[in-house]
Symmetry: none
Subunit: 216 residues, 2 copies
DNA sequence: GTTTCAATCCCCGAATTCGGGGATTTTTTT
DNA sequence: AAAAAAATCCCCGAATTCGGGGATTGAAAC
């Protein structure tokens, strides 16, 4: 059976060493490389040809997330497992979007790392429980803003929608009057009605609401 | 210690029974209810008050995904663990977007179900490995189509971004001055600089541009 | 057949926004 | 040390927006 070749990026020497030792306890694992920084990561990986990369985030020179991006661009078949102490939303999602296939926290890993690597190799995406929850929550948020947005009905008349569209596009009342061939005062009337219906009191609020709730 | 109360929705009687039996082997678990369909799920759950719901997808009358939506609307604190044989993308993502906090496949569950339920209760999101991979891949896809509007750099200073954010949120200059604890005239100065940098001449255009190009 | 509503137009006065100056202080860059 | 940029504050005058009235017409709803 082909061994699973693994490369490590972590600026902490003792962590790298202890991971290397841990990997040695599994005979199907093979340490392909161990690096303290990611400045030459693509070249490093082209040379050592691993199946899987363990990537820390905080490193001198370039951070691990940017490295993930570069690696997946150059070598898309390599699976990358983030392995870090950070669990703030930004770093988690940036890592995933950059192309990581798993994200585990460093604290409770030791015994489980072997299991996580195997899971990754089998097509899974190992994540620490709190990370997995963040990911699902994020997906729900995304779908909520991306999806329907049809429950709002402010009962704008068609003319009012015309006017609102012009407002959103940045036209002044005077320009709207010209655009729609009506008088300035008519535009004013429509605008007043729109504000009333949308429960806003200014152009900026109207534009924000119109865009946020896809009224135009 | 408070027991973990669990309700089961599955149209297959023998599966419900064997899950119930499995749960009994853990003394911290308590079966709150067991139902063959979801037609009255919200009422059922209001009565039996579980912490966690195990939800099958294929059921007579209403499917499990729609039930998840209703349950999360009415009882948002209940955590729902999908437990099904389906792993097609649509059902997986629909379930998650409907509000499920975990998604496990029925085949290899028996021994692990107890572990998954505990993980869910502790704030994790248990997923079968293949499901977790699908979720991450989906997130990467979404970010890929959502992203590529970052080529714009109007070089707004951080204070200008503060002001722009306030503007987008519908605050008047006077309110912004108050919010940021600076004088009205300072707000004016920032606004002028913002307009110059964004190449706009009015609030509406600024809000539109800020939202469209995700500057805030 | 009256009422309701959308669409059009008008006036006044107050508040807000905008453009075009200028100035000082602090921080950052060079 | 000098230059550039960021952040703060001020004034004037003009343009625009806003709130609160009102009015007319025509079409749709009751």
């Amino acid at each position: 059976m082909m061994p699973i070749r693994i490369a490590i990026f972590d600026d902490n020497n003792s962590i790298r060493d202890s991971i290397a030792m841990l990997l040695q306890t599994e005979k199907e694992f093979e340490l392909a490389g161990s690096f303290a920084h990611v400045l030459d990561c693509v070249d490093d990986l082209k040379t050592c040809k691993p199946d899987i990369v363990l990537m820390d985030i905080e490193m001198p020179g370039m951070n691990g997330i940017e490295a993930v991006r570069l690696i997946k661009q150059a070598l898309p078949d390599i699976q990358i497992l983030m392995q870090t102490v950070f669990e703030d939303d930004d770093r988690v999602f940036d890592s995933i979007c950059a192309g990581a296939s798993g994200y585990i926290l460093k604290n409770q890993l030791n015994s489980r790392l072997i299991h996580f690597i195997k899971e990754l190799k089998l097509g899974g995406s190992p994540m620490s429980p709190s990370i997995a929850r963040k990911v699902l929550t994020k997906m729900q948020e995304i779908s909520a803003v991306l999806k329907p947005e049809a429950d709002n009905d402010y009962k704008l008349s068609s003319r009012e929608k015309d006017v609102l569209t012009c407002i959103v596009n940045g036209l002044s009342h005077k320009m709207i009057a010209d655009e729609l061939n009506i008088s300035y005062e008519t535009v004013r009337s429509h605008v007043k009605k729109i504000y009333e219906k949308l429960h806003v009191v200014s152009i900026s609020q109207a534009v924000f609401k119109a865009l946020k709730e896809k009224l135009v």
